[in-house]
């Protein structure tokens, strides 16, 4: 019987511990599948993060608008301006009464913030008034 060439017969290598190799292959497959699962999980987490980031960005934008609105509403008239606009009304007392009635918790804040302003004004000289008026004009000129 003629001998077959080596290529046709094929090569055989002895594997001493096939169970160990089989076990390792299966465990590696299991780990690969776990990694695949984790990939999807990470993807989901990132999508969720993206959503939260968009939401956060939206909230920050809204906050900015609200703070801008407060800035627009806030400083309006100085005491001198109010006196010019409403000469007959005791502004300070009226304001305090209205605030007290509308928001009792504002009382404490009002005490801190406006306490000094609500005291009866000390009599001022003509010179002081003119100086103040001049300052007002200068301030307005600076804004132009």
């Amino acid at each position: 019987m003629p001998k077959k060439p080596i290529e046709e017969e094929g090569l055989f290598i002895r594997v001493n511990n096939p169970i160990l190799i089989r076990k390792n292959i299966l465990e590696s497959s299991k780990l690969i599948l776990t990694i695949l699962k984790q990939t999807y999980s990470i993807k989901q987490v990132r999508e969720l993060k993206q959503e939260k980031m968009s939401e956060l960005s939206q909230q920050i934008k809204e906050l900015r608008i609200l703070l801008q609105k407060i800035e627009e509403l806030m400083p309006q008239y100085t005491k001198a301006d109010l006196k010019k606009l409403l000469p007959d009304i005791p502004i300070a007392k009226k304001a305090v009464e209205q605030v007290k009635a509308s928001r009792p918790e504002a009382k404490a804040e009002m005490k801190e913030d406006w306490a000094e302003e609500l005291k009866p004004a000390a009599p001022v000289s003509d010179m002081d008034r003119i100086t103040k008026a001049l300052e007002d004009v200068q301030r307005k000129l600076q804004t132009l």
Binding site: N24, Q38, K49, K52, S102
Partner: protein, 80 residues
């Protein structure tokens, strides 16, 4: 009236119309709520970031294990 239209020295006290004052208080309340919401969102984001980091660490560990198993297999196959 806009702030820019009526420039006031910031150190001086100012008077705000009572209706606008109420508006301001309402807005401040809304701002407070929104800030609380933003804090909550940030906490959630931090939680997600930690979760992602944990997943990545686990991912790396699994890859290390695979590498180790492949090395064992390679060794076993080359011994024969």
């Amino acid at each position: 009236m806009l702030r820019g239209e009526h420039m006031i020295n910031e150190s001086n006290p100012v008077f705000v119309k009572i209706d606008k004052y109420k508006d301001i208080l309402n807005i401040v309340e809304v701002v407070n709520k929104k800030v609380t919401g933003v804090k909550q969102l940030l906490a959630e984001l931090e939680e997600l970031k930690d979760k992602e980091a944990e997943e990545l660490v686990s991912w790396k560990n699994n890859l290390d294990q695979i590498t180790h198993k492949l090395e064992i297999m390679q060794e076993e196959l080359t011994q024969g």
